[in-house]
Every structure is written in structure tokens, then in C-alpha cells.
């Protein structure tokens, strides 16, 4: 057998073997057995050195041609096999995309918290700073500074929780004490909102809760008017309920404002035509408001001739109830996860 015969036989055998490979590992094994350092072709090529000088160039050229041919054949076969392999993998990896995803445990914020944050942001856009005050409050701030002297029948409107002890200390019945506290510590212009929890000694039912949240608003300056109050409240209603909302003022009495009103916004569900949410009145009652009583301005050391101001207060739980059709205020303190989760996406 000559070198050339051996080469031809090897070429034939190798190409046949390559044809018989069925997957990528087999192709790679063929490459090692044929072209690798210890492979058949490499072994044969070592025999070139034993040939005579005349034979060597011709044999070398032939051997090289076979090597190139086998290398290309290998690359081609490898591509085919890799493609087949990928095809197989994609096929076996297919999933039922309708199976549920892996759920990271995610909690929720309380809807009262969400509403307070939303309101704070709305009022911040109108230049109001959010401030906070104590829940346990002196009757001085809860009543006296707000034009509600002791022995005044107006004190009965707020059924007050009293705290045992020397001084007259109460659970605040409204967020209004912060009106006095803020005015005492700042000079006009004043624009603040005060969210917080308030307490009134009331029997609980679907619309009454003894521990509830309010948001108080206060603006004092040289040119604050009741029209401004109406405008600010309308802006809030527009942001909260969307659309072009209307505000209704009705005369009402709160000792710390004069004139005093209760305010309502036209129902965004029915556009004021009357529906279940607004109890067929067309209006959603939001809270009380008015122009800061001169006695309150004076008690805080402000010049009541020079400054005017408005104040308003609204119930947070009520607002969530109106906007989301919640019909029982007790759900908020109930903290049932089945209720809380309904607002997981924000309110």
C-alpha cells in the first residue's frame, strides 16, 4: 500500500463515518478521532517524513487537500447538527404560557395611607405643606384656641375622649388644633394641610367610626377669600374625581370659621344626576370649611384686620368610601386582608 492509497482509503472511511454521525457529540468525537492531535489523519501525516524527497511534495499536497476537505466537511456537519440540536432544545423547552407566574409576596398599603399621600401631593401642587400634629392634645388647642371656650354648647358637638390626669387633655376631635399650632409658629403666608387620626366618642355603625382620619387645610394671607377656598376645593375634587367638578357650599356652623359652610362635590359617577353612590342626591358631602374666625386668628397672635384665611376639613375614610364605593366605614379599622388587597394597585 502506498501513502496515496492509504490517504484515499482514510478519506473515504472518514467521510462515510461523518455521514453516519447523528448528533453534535458524535460529530465532535469524529473530529477528535480524525483531525485531533491523536487522530487518524494526523497519524498518517506523520508518515510523510518517511517518504523519499521526490514523493514528498506530491504526497504532501494530496494530504493537505484531504485535510482541508475533511475540516470543511466537519464544519458543515457540525452546523447541521448544531441547528438540529437547537431545534430539539427549543421544542422540548416549550411551556404552557398560561400557567401562573412565580409570585413574589407583595403587601399593600392601607387605603387611608394611600389617600392621605395622594391628597398631600395634590395640595403640594397648590403650594400647601403637609404637617403633622399630636393625637393627644390639650383642650387649649383642641377647643380654646379654636373659639370653642369651655362651657360653650359647641363643645358638645364633639363627643370628646378625655385623658386622665391633671390638665385638660383629650384625644383630638379634629385635626384643627394644628391650625393654632401652625399659626403660632409661623408668620403669613401660611398654606398647610394636616392629615391625621382623630377620635370622637360615637357609637359605631356603617357610617360612624370613633377613630377616623381627617385632612385639615389652612391658608392665611392678606388676600385670601372664600372664592379662593371654593377654587382650591374644586381643584382638589378635579384631581381626585377627574373631569370638571362643581363644588357646592351650604351654610353651616363651626365655631372656628365665619362664614362657615359644608361642602359637597357633584357626584362623578352619575355627573350629578343621582345614583347609588351619591344616594340619589347628585352630591357627595365632603366636609366642613369656611373663613378662619377672627378670634382664631387673634388667639394665634395674628392681626385679624390685616389677614384673612380659609380652613377646611375632610374625612379620609369618607373620601375613600365615596370614590371607591365602600359602603361600611368599619372595614378600614377591620384591616381584613381581603379588603386591603382590593387596593393593592393603589387607590
Amino acid at each position: 500500500m502506498t501513502f496515496t492509497d492509504d490517504l484515499a482509503a482514510l478519506r473515504q472511511r472518514a467521510l462515510a463515518a461523518l455521514d453516519e454521525t447523528t448528533d453534535l457529540p458524535e460529530v465532535q468525537a469524529w473530529e477528535r478521532a480524525t483531525l485531533g492531535g491523536k487522530g487518524e489523519l494526523t497519524g498518517l501525516l506523520r508518515g510523510l517524513g518517511r517518504l523519499s524527497a521526490e514523493e514528498r511534495p506530491e504526497a504532501g499536497r494530496a494530504a493537505n487537500m484531504v485535510k482541508v476537505e475533511l475540516t470543511e466537511a466537519f464544519a458543515g456537519r457540525q452546523r447541521v447538527m448544531a441547528a438540529a440540536d437547537l431545534r430539539d432544545r427549543l421544542a422540548t423547552d416549550a411551556i404552557d404560557v398560561t400557567l401562573p407566574g412565580r409570585q413574589p409576596a407583595v403587601g399593600t398599603l392601607h387605603p387611608v395611607t394611600e389617600m392621605i399621600e395622594e391628597l398631600s401631593e395634590i395640595f403640594a401642587l397648590m403650594g400647601f405643606q403637609t404637617v403633622y400634629g399630636p393625637e393627644v392634645e390639650t383642650s387649649h388647642y383642641n377647643f380654646d384656641q379654636l373659639n370653642i371656650p369651655s362651657d360653650h354648647p359647641a363643645r358638645d358637638v364633639w363627643d370628646t375622649f378625655l385623658v386622665e390626669g391633671e390638665g385638660e387633655v383629650v384625644l383630638r376631635t379634629h385635626t384643627s388644633p394644628m391650625q393654632a399650632r401652625v399659626m403660632e409658629s409661623t408668620t403669613p403666608p401660611v398654606r398647610v394641610v394636616v392629615p391625621g387620626r382623630c377620635y370622637r366618642f360615637e357609637a359605631q355603625d356603617a357610617s360612624h367610626e370613633w377613630a377616623f382620619h381627617q385632612l385639615e387645610g389652612l391658608a392665611v394671607d392678606e388676600r385670601i377669600t372664600m372664592a379662593d377656598l371654593k377654587g382650591v376645593l374644586r381643584e382638589m375634587a378635579r384631581q381626585l374625581f377627574g373631569g370638571d367638578r362643581r363644588i357646592r357650599f351650604r351654610c353651616d356652623f363651626f365655631p372656628f370659621v365665619e362664614p362657615g359652610v359644608d361642602f359637597a362635590v357633584d357626584c362623578s359617577v352619575c355627573d350629578g344626576k343621582g345614583c347609588r353612590v351619591c344616594k340619589y342626591t347628585g352630591w357627595l358631602e365632603m366636609g366642613g370649611a369656611g373663613m378662619v374666625h377672627p378670634n382664631v386668628l387673634r388667639a394665634a397672635g395674628y392681626d385679624a384686620e390685616r389677614y384673612t384665611g380659609f380652613a377646611f376639613g375632610l374625612g379620609i375614610e369618607r373620601l375613600v368610601m365615596m370614590r371607591h364605593g365602600v359602603d361600611d366605614v368599619r372595614a378600614f379599622a377591620g384591616n381584613d386582608l381581603r379588603f386591603l388587597r382590593q387596593f393593592a394597585g393603589g387607590i
Binding site: P104, A105, V106, G107, E117, V169, C251
Partner: protein, 819 residues
Amino acid sequence: MRWLEEIVPTGLEPRELARRMTMAGLEAERVEEVPAGWDNVFVGLVTRVDRHPDADRLNLVDVDAGEHKLRVVTGAPNIAEGQRVALALAGARLIDPYTESPTPVYKTLKPGKIRGIVSEGMVCSERELGLSDEHEGIMVLSEDAPVGAPLKAWLGDTVIEFEITPNLVHAFSIVGIARQASALTGADVRVPRRVDLHTLPGSSDVVAVDDVDLCPRLAGAVVTGVTVGPSPEWLQRRLVHAGLRPVNNLVDITNYVMLEFGQPLHAYDRRRLAGGRIVARRARPGETLETLDHQRRDLTGDMLVIADAEKPVGVAGVMGGVDSEVADDTTEILLEAAAFDMKAIRRSRTTLRLRTDASARFERGLDPNLPGDGIARALSLILAVCPGSTVTAFQDVYPEPVLPWHVTLPVSRFERVLGVAIPEPTIEETLTRLGFAPSFEGDGGERRLTVTVPTERRDVTIPEDVIEEVARVVGYDTLPETLPSGRLPAIDRALDVDWQRAVRRRLAAAGASECISYPTVGAPDLASLSGGTFDEATLVGVLDRRPAVDLLTLVNPIQAERPYLRNTLVPSLLALAAENRKHETRVALFEVGSTFRPVQGQELPDEVATLALVMSGARAVTDRFAAAGTLDYFDAKGVLESALGVDTLSAPLVFVAAEQPLPFLHPGRTADLRLGDRQVGVIGELRPDVARSVGFEDARVAVAEVDLRALFAARVTRPTGKRVPRFLPAQQDFAIVVDRSVSADAVRDALAAGAGALATGMTLFDVFEGEQIGADRKSLAWRVTFEAPDRALTDAELVKTRSRIAKVLKQRVDGVLRG
């Protein structure tokens, strides 16, 4: 409504009137037809009464009601020919008189047979019609009742119930409401007839005032020849519609006038007044009085009483006494009308815990000029209702009559307050219709308005009051809507609140849901956390431990068993978690709220922003990927670390085994959170027995409480941005064998010290105990990330670091590197 229309004929539908009054500040809470129903009930004339052939107690009665002429069977003993009665036909809805239910139970009348005789309708008692509790006999109507007319048209009415806010005492009467309605509609007020007090025989021996401060006015009239009996039907009806129970003609008239004019009155049986006269004075020590509600009351020296020559006969402005009450045989009365100091009346009724229709009016501050109208109206009614009666003496002690006052304001003030100018003619017309006397003076921009205020309007004293009077009638819907102009105040963000908001969001992102629980606690919440018993000496709290007696306590808690304001959120949150656990496989709840810590010598308590966390149940909601196991200490610790550990604090936040475990926590599974030397939190699992007693069936319930205020205070910097290294990090694992008693934190600290500055991250990934490493030993495995900002680390460097680590571990924690 009939009563009101008599005084001010507005001609408006009741609901429309109610709406307009509400917009103007007199809130109509209820508009109701009274009594409800009454369809198919007519005024009938009894034309014939026969005995029932088969029953002694029953009568057969022919009733003529115009179109309807019926024969009915009745058991009423008082039936007689010629009576006008209420005849109900089949289909009428009547109140079932035989139920004990406090709310009326209605039934629909059907024709039926009574003892064999067909009854085609029914003659009704007052109770069946909802007029009173009277069911002894049928209701007999007055002779002028029109036979055949629907009873509704004859007796029915519409009742509007107004909510009278404390400032509206002038509208706390039919006449007062009428004045408001007049201002809104323009209809004139016709004040009901009163006697002319000047024509009465004057006297100086009817009334006397000892304390003018508390009783600025006391008027009394002696009426002789009165006959006590039932009031006329119309008067009774109006009282019933107003929610009062008719008693007798004299008492009814005092009540009627109180409703009509707003002035409470009292009638005494003069024979039972020692000395036949009354005096307004303070109660004397030890005096008592049995009031009309048959309670013996102890009187105190700051109470004003009405007394005869010997003893108190009434608590002024609140309630009269039983002894001098008008009785069936009374023939001579002393009628009293007075003005009292509002604060004194409020004090009396608060002390006595006795709220009456009279006190409700007096404590709001009645017009001292009102007693004159009130007594004049009552006398006119008494003289009309008791023929033959005469006023024999009248005295009015009113040393300092209150006169109308003035309020002056620049006309421009309307615009400054309302944001819109009101034309002077509108101001003038509105105020005049409301009973004020306005006048304008000055010119140009300096026009001033002076308003003379009628004495009944004690709520109008400052310019803003006048502005409201005009605005509420003109209507707030005419106000423009503007946004405040002028300077904006500088705004400081509340950084602590912003940070709390971030913490809440991180907690929610870590899988916990926010709750807002009640701030009151007591034995039901605290007993199970203190070994089952609870008294005032029991130590309460988590971060703030103190005896219950030192907690802030409510005088009037909503639940008697929960009088304390909490100094920890844990009990309330545990209760919510246990409740939720009944229907949830996984419960993770948190609350951020105030805890209240009383401070010696300080009026208000310290309110501390506090975080509590409770986790229990399955680690993940059951699904096909579910992570095995139940929530425990490490879940809660992980949530706290991810919510709080990402902040840059003045000292590292570390968890150290609690030296003095709280009694309700598992002693081997609780830690203190420390920030430097300061304890800022507690975390642990409930003891299994405590978990059961607070309502969990789970073996493990993890709880934590953290002082957020302290954490915020320690939050020194916002993180400084560092350049990301250009070279890839190297990672090496270290398995370290130490004695079991050595804490993981101690090993980590030693590892970190040995690794030096090149170590930028360390994660513990395995804890192993077993024979291979020896008894009482444990192996902790960390993966450490090494990187340098300026170069790729060489193997040589890493080898050197490793040997340094081995040395430091040996020295500090007697640790050995494995493998």
C-alpha cells in the same frame, strides 16, 4: 308644616322649603308625612250603635263616611252615636296595637267576620293610627271634622326636622324658623296672638331674683280659676307631631309655647308653693329636689334653683320639681318665664346628667327679651282654653333690659372675605328681611355699613357674622372659584414622614400589608402577653416597659375593658393577624403608628412613631413553586433588614440575642435591635403557649417592634455615589468551623477584619453541624467578593488574603478554615 304655614304662608311644598332652608344653613334632616300611611282612612259619623247578638262586649256600628257607608264590629267601650271617628277601609295599613316592638309593626286591614258578623272596616284607636299609645277605646274626632274626608287631609301633616347647630338658637322655634323662611321667600310673618302684658294687674309679690348674674330676668303670672283637663285636639296633635307627649292643658300650653316661640316656661301649682311666690337663687348646701322624672337630686351651690319660701321647687332651666307639679285638682297656677345664664344651665345639666328640652334651649343662650313674648303667648292660650280663668297678678323682674346692638364694617369687607362684591341694595334688602336694620354711610371706597342686630340674634356680633347672613341668603353658588393669589410660603418637606413613607413602601414590597388598628388596649389584649393575668401593676410594652397604671388612661373609653392608650402596637397587630390567619394561609402585617409614652411633669405624652410587624403561616401562598416551610424569626428579620437595613445610619443596625427576653417571647428566639449602644427594636417569636392564647394555631408567630423615630434620627447621610469598579470581582468561599456558641456575627466580623478592604461583599450561604466537624462545633460558609478599584486581583494576592483570614479567625473566634 300647618303650624308654620299659619305663621308664614310661604306656599312652598315642604320639600322645596326644606331644601332652601338647608342651603341657607338650617339643615333639614328629615321631611316626613305624619303619620305615615293613612290611605283608605276617612272621617266617619257613627249613625247607629247596636249590641252584637252573640257577644256582650262587641257592638255593631253603622258608620257614614260620605261615599262609604259601612257596618263594622268594634269592641271599643267608648263608641256612641253622633261621634266622628276614624274609619279604616280594607287595604288601609294600620299599626298592630298588640305587638311590644318599639318600632311600629304595620298590617293591612282585610274584611273579616267577627263572631259571625261581617265587618267591612274598622274604627281606629290612636295607637292604630300612630298618634299615641292610647288603645283603650277608639279615637273620637272633634265635631268640626268633615265627614267623608280622608283623615290625612283633616289630621295629617308634614314634619320637617331641622338640625339646630349651636349658633342657631334664634331658629329653635316655629316662629324662628318662620322668620328664616320669610327672609328666603319674602312671605310675611304673622306672629301668633299674645296678651298685652301692660294690661295685667301688676304685683311685687310673685317673683324675686337673688342672683342677677345667673338670672337676669324672671317673669311670673298668677292665674286663678283654671281647670285642668286634656288639651284641645289641635294642640295635642301639634305636640305629638313635634315628638312631645300631651299631659294636660296647662303643661301642654307651656310646651306648645316653647316649641312656638322657643321660650321654655314652667307652671307651678300655686297652692303648693310656700308663700305663694318664687325666687331664683343658688342652691344651699344639702338641699335636694325630687324632679319631675321622680329622681331625688342633690343640688350644689353653683346651681341656680327656683325656690319657694322654704325649699327649691325646680332646677332653673332644667326641670321642675314633683311637689309643685300641676295636678288634676289644680285651680291656681304661677306661670314662670325666665332668662338664665347659659353657662350656669350647662353646668347644672352636666352635673345632674339631665338633658331636657328646656336646658337644650337655655344653654345655647336665649334672648332675654323672649320671656315676655313667651309668657304673653301662654297666657293668651290659657285664657282661651280655660274659660273663667283670670290673671290676678303679674311681675317681671328685668333690671337691665338687653337692647339691640350695632355691628359696623366697611362695605369693602364683603369682597375681602367673599372674593366678590355684593351690591348695597342686595345687602340692605337681605339684612332687612332677616330682621336686621342696616344703614350705610360715607362715600366712595369708604362706605361703611352699620347693622342694628335684633336681640334674638345673639350669634351676630362681628362683621363676619353679618357677611355670612348676607352670603347664605344670596347663595354661595354665586361665589366665583379662584386660586389663592399672592406669595407662596417656603415649603419644608417633612423628611421624617417622607422616610416613613419609604419604609412603608419597602415593607409592602417585602410582602407585608399595612394595617391601621385602634390605639386603645386593655386586659383582653394584654393579659395573654403577661402570663394570663393582668392588673394595674402588670408590666406592659415592648420598647417602653411600664406598669399598666402608668399608661395614659381614657376617662371615658369606648370599651370599658380597653381604657389605655397603647405604648406598643404589638397587641393590636397580633389580634388583627390572628383574625386574618383564620382565612389566610400566609399573614404578614405591619403598622406604622403612634405609641404613647406618658412623661412625668409634662402635660402631653411623648408620641413615638413606631413600626410593628407580625408574620405567621406558610412562607409562600400555596402554588406549584411554593417555598417550603412556615414563616419564622428569619422571615421577619429579613423583612426588617430589607426595609430598614438599606439606610445609611450613624452606626450599624445589629441584632443581638436579647439579654432579658420579653415574657411573651420565645427566650431562645428573640433579639434586640441595636444601633450602637441604643436599643431601637425587639424581634422574636411568640412563646408557643402565648401564640395559642392570642388565637394562633401556628407554632411560629414572628413579631417585631421598632422605634422609627430613633432610626430616623440616626440616619446621618444620604449615600454617596461611588464609581463602579472597572475590573471584575473575584469570589472565594470560606467554610469556617467554630464552637457552636460563637455567634455568626462574631465570625463574620472576624472574617471581615481578616479580609480587609478588598472584601466588598459577604454572604453566608450554609450552616452545617455534624460528626465530621466534631461535637459542639459548627461550620459557617461565606462567599466573599473581593475587588480593587484600580486593578484586577492576582492569585498571589488572594492566597495572601486567605492566610491572613485564617490567622484572624484563629485569634478572634478560635475558627478553623475547612478545605
